[in-house]
């Protein structure tokens, strides 16, 4: 009985995070970065004060973990063209200049922390590789076209 109750609660918490928070974020890549940011770097556990207050810390943790994995697998399945659009939306929606964010993303590779724990290594590598390529494509598109003769 308690397991059923817990499953229902996780589903409710998952729906809650989807409706209240994720729906307001502009693109899947930003959703992924947001969900990864709710994970503690040291323990790998997810925290969300509002969600934990409405449900419980344990249920909130599980719901965030599921949401993170789902968004990660969705973004990893994007074609390079779709992901390039996502990267463009993400970079342009930042408060910083898109080129500044691009430089930081290419040098520091902060998107590496967006990979959930215990996902298939080849899928994780596909995601990282596609992000690197999408960033290179964005940089290429920012370069001015050579003057026509």
């Amino acid at each position: 009985m308690s397991a059923t109750v817990k499953l229902v609660s996780v589903q409710d918490a998952y729906d809650d995070i989807l409706e209240r928070t994720l729906a307001r974020i502009s693109c899947d890549l930003a959703r992924l970065v947001y969900l990864a940011s709710t994970r503690d770097y040291n323990s790998g556990n997810y925290h969300h004060d509002g969600l934990a207050a409405r449900f419980s810390a344990d249920v909130a943790r599980k719901a965030l973990e599921i949401a993170h994995r789902q968004v990660f697998y969705r973004v990893s399945a994007y074609s390079l063209e779709e992901l390039s659009e996502e990267v463009e939306i993400y970079l342009k929606s930042s408060r910083e200049s898109p080129l500044e964010v691009l430089r930081a993303w290419q040098n520091l590779e902060p998107y590496r922390i967006a990979v959930p724990m215990e996902v298939n290594p080849a899928v994780a590598r596909l995601f990282l590789s596609n992000i690197r390529l999408a960033l290179a494509i964005f940089r290429h598109r920012q370069q001015p076209l050579p003057p026509r003769p």
């Binding site: 298939n120 290594p121 994780a124 390529l133």
Partner: protein, 185 residues
């Protein structure tokens, strides 16, 4: 004289292929696969790569998108990324199936009711998979992964079948053990 020349050409070709194989194996080893950071045995907590993603690694669609941008440096970057990714996937799949077969051999040694037909079928699938993985590694190194989607999907299907067969074998072994335990009560 002609025979000697042919033998020389064949041996040179074999040496070249051996070199390509070696290079591919080394470059795949240099990649940072996540599972090396995990303790032994924890690997099976991870999921195998779904066919949808295998198809993406070997797909030409992304290549066509990059090629339309007419940037040689982007094209080169894309080719390098996809090649190392494809090699990682082949090595990972091959290693995973090797582990499954080792586990299976361990279980089989303790099993009293082995079905030889099933064992032979499983082993022939394993041998086929290892052979295709070898071909894939050399082909990826020589021509890149974009022509090999069909073969890669075949490997993915084969590895899933081996995994399922092993799971079924495991379940059956557990059941037999359970029945014996009940009988001894």
């Amino acid at each position: 004289m002609m025979g000697v020349s042919i033998a020389f050409v064949i041996s040179m070709l074999l040496l070249y292929l051996l070199g390509v194989w070696r290079r591919a194996t080394v470059s795949a080893r240099e990649l940072p696969p996540n599972e090396r950071m995990l303790p032994d045995g924890a690997r099976f907590a991870l999921e195998s790569c779904p066919a949808e993603y295998v198809s993406k690694i070997f797909s030409r669609d992304d290549w066509e998108f990059v090629a339309a941008m007419k940037s040689p440096s982007l094209e080169r970057f894309f080719s390098e990324e996809r090649k190392s990714l494809a090699l990682l996937w082949v090595q990972q799949t091959s290693a995973d199936v090797q582990k499954i077969m080792r586990q299976h051999a361990e279980l089989s040694r303790r099993s009293e009711d082995l079905d030889f037909a099933t064992e032979i079928k499983l082993f022939s699938r394993y041998a086929e998979l290892r052979m295709i993985c070898g071909i894939l590694v050399v082909s990826i190194e020589l021509a890149g992964p974009l022509w090999l989607r069909g073969l890669a999907l075949h490997v993915s299907k084969l590895s899933q079948r081996i995994e399922q067969a092993q799971e079924a074998f495991h379940a059956a072994a557990d059941e037999t053990r359970g029945v014996r335990n009940i009988g001894s009560l």
